[in-house]
């Protein structure tokens, strides 16, 4: 059985159909790319997976459970984590405390608990942040703030990690490093779905690609086939032209 399976996912905001009858599955151990021009509905799909939005129609199954109507925190506890496009660390907490928050047990009676300092350093080390544990997020360069977001998600020990535009605003060297780190998460047993709005950067990293356009599934397949796909070319060109 697939780790994640999405059947007929539809999300309407008033008259706007942001996601229209999208179905796909992700197998354990894969790195799947979810691409499409701006406004294609990629982030909305992630929001639906994470329980941020109520879905209009469709079913989401994850790790053996129907999670369609679950609240976000329950989905996270069940093993799914998302790194949003926007960074939102807590400015008054250090990098270490920001990570620690994501390791706390979900119980109002748990006054003490969560990860030890050593465990927090380990999560940070997975994205090369272990030298900055005592700094405040506001003191970090952009790429490190993005890494902190990933470290926070890793600290929830996810089976499935959703990355929304992880490369945005990064230079070539940073993109290369991050790609290698994402590959290492997979080797450590985490399945990954990456959203990106441009095709180029992602194709070396992913096993499989899913293309969204205007909320619909436009194409799916191996990266090479997708790049050669006429409909995909059209969608991107139309997007550029508009």
């Amino acid at each position: 059985m697939s780790l994640l399976s999405v059947e007929g996912l539809t999300k309407r905001f008033g008259g706007l159909v942001a996601v229209d009858d999208v179905s796909f599955a992700v197998e354990a151990g894969e790195i799947v790319g979810l691409i499409g021009p701006n406004g294609a509905g990629k982030s909305t799909v992630f929001d639906c997976l994470m329980g941020v939005h109520d879905v209009t129609a469709g079913e989401i199954r994850f790790d053996g459970a129907a999670i369609t109507d679950w609240p976000t925190h329950r989905i996270v506890t069940h093993g799914m984590a998302r790194v949003s496009q926007e960074s939102n660390p807590i400015g008054r907490y250090s990098v270490a405390a920001n990570i620690r928050l994501f390791t706390l047990p979900n119980s109002v009676f748990s006054f003490h608990g969560g990860a030890s300092d050593a465990e927090i350093a380990e999560y940070a080390a997975r994205v090369d942040l272990d030298g900055r544990l005592d700094e405040r997020p506001g003191e970090l360069p952009h790429a490190d703030v993005r890494r902190l977001e990933i470290a926070k998600a890793l600290a929830t020990e996810p089976d499935l990690l959703l990355l929304d535009e992880p490369f945005a605003g990064m230079n070539q060297a940073e993109i290369r490093t991050l790609s290698e780190q994402i590959e290492s998460f997979r080797e450590a047993g985490t399945t990954i779905v990456v959203v990106d709005h441009n095709m180029g950067g992602l194709m070396d990293l992913v096993d499989r690609t899913l293309v969204l356009h205007n909320g619909r599934k436009l194409a799916a397949g191996e990266p090479d086939d997708i790049v050669a796909n006429d409909a995909v070319q059209q969608a991107y060109l139309a997007g550029e032209g508009a």
Partner: protein
């Protein structure tokens, strides 16, 4: 257009004058005084730092860490409070009475802070919680029997505060920002109207006078208020420095991150009301037994809710302990320093002080003092 520009310039000019006078104040008063204080206090800090280190090692993870001087100030303050019956009579005024009242309000200010200050869901209706406890005590005494033991009335009254707290807190599950605050505000207005509207049951404007005061001995009464206040302070500090406090702050700073961390924001928001309502109930019971009177004006009216907030603001919101200092400042100003001044002018002055703190020291007077003390000699925050 020109008029608007002129006004804008005027505002800028005023801001510049304000900024200049602040910097003058800083260079000619604050800094010299600060450096003298530093030179005098540094040896004290050094002398106490082994004790502080021992405290930090053993209790630091539960209550936060302190510097040597901070520990000294803390211990001195607690000792001075316990010794108040020895020194208070020598000061003009009725300090033992005032300090006892301040202890009760310190409980309210701390309890408000652990919910509103920490989670950022600002309640304008916390007097409904203490009111529920006070009225529960009065209603039990009047309707069930004047000889009900305290071990019955106190838990039932605290439970009443808890129930009202959860009812007021429920909107927090759906509403954010000003809408939540407005609901808490309306809750208190409703409570007040109920006490008048159902006066045959709730005592009306004059409330109840049947509650037995703990004691009329001023010294003993002071300790009846001080000891619970200190216990509440220890309890709430423990909560605030724990994971739970960390999640409360995270709710204030970034609620969606809390859910993303796998933590149920709804449960923690309700929990903040529980953590707040229990001490509010304790404070309400103390206030009821302080004088034996339970009236809308001493418990319910919305002014009481606002005064709790003012105390927390004076001390420093989001720190649990600083609001204690804020409560003492507020009550001593009101009942002692401004005692001779007429009611309106007294409150006008008080609110001006609160306004000044909001503008010039938004993080609170007591918290600033605490950090200033921590900066002397110490290397920790």
């Amino acid at each position: 257009m020109a008029d608007a520009e002129g006004r804008a310039e005027g505002a800028e000019g005023a801001a510049a004058v304000l900024a200049r006078s602040r910097s003058t104040l800083r260079t000619s008063v604050v800094r010299p005084v600060g450096s003298v204080a530093t030179r005098l206090l540094e040896p004290l800090d050094r002398a106490a730092s082994p004790a502080a280190a021992a405290f930090n090692r053993s209790l630091g993870q539960y209550f936060g860490t302190v510097t040597g001087l901070q520990l000294l100030v803390l211990i001195t303050t607690v000792l001075a409070l316990f010794a108040a019956p020895l020194w208070a009579p020598y000061i003009v005024g009725n300090y033992l009475y005032t300090l006892a009242i301040a202890c009760v309000w310190a409980i309210f200010a701390m309890a408000w802070d652990v919910q509103s200050g920490y989670t950022g869901y600002i309640s304008f209706g916390h007097s409904a919680l203490s009111g529920a406890a006070g009225y529960a005590t009065a209603l039990l005494v009047v309707n069930v029997g004047p000889n009900l033991p305290l071990w019955v009335t106190i838990p039932v009254s605290v439970l009443a505060a808890l129930v009202v707290g959860l009812v007021v807190g429920l909107p927090a599950l759906r509403l954010q920002g000003p809408y939540f605050s407005l609901i808490t505000f309306v809750a208190v207005l409703l409570f007040y109207r109920l006490t008048i509207g159902f006066s045959e049951f709730l005592g009306g404007e004059t409330g109840f006078q049947e509650v037995q005061a703990f004691t009329y001995d001023p010294t003993l009464r002071f300790y009846y208020m001080l000891v619970p206040m200190l216990l509440v302070a220890v309890g709430l500090t423990f909560v605030a420095r724990s994971n739970v406090g960390m999640v409360f702050v995270a709710i204030r700073e970034n609620e969606s991150a809390v859910a993303a961390a796998g933590l149920n924001p709804t449960a923690f928001k309700l929990w903040s009301f529980v953590m707040s309502a229990i001490p509010m109930g304790i404070g309400g019971v103390l206030l009821a037994h302080f004088s034996g009177n339970v009236t809308p004006s001493s418990f319910v009216v919305v002014n009481n809710s606002i005064e709790m907030i003012a105390m927390a603001v004076l001390g420093g919101i989001g720190s649990v302990l600083a609001p204690i200092g804020g409560a003492f400042l507020f009550v001593i100003l009101r009942d002692e320093v401004l005692h001779g001044v007429g009611h309106s002018l007294r409150y006008f002055t008080l609110w001006m002080v609160v306004l000044a703190v909001l503008v010039f020291a938004r993080d609170g007077v007591i918290r600033r003092l605490w950090h200033a003390i921590g900066a002397i000699g110490g290397d920790s925050e």
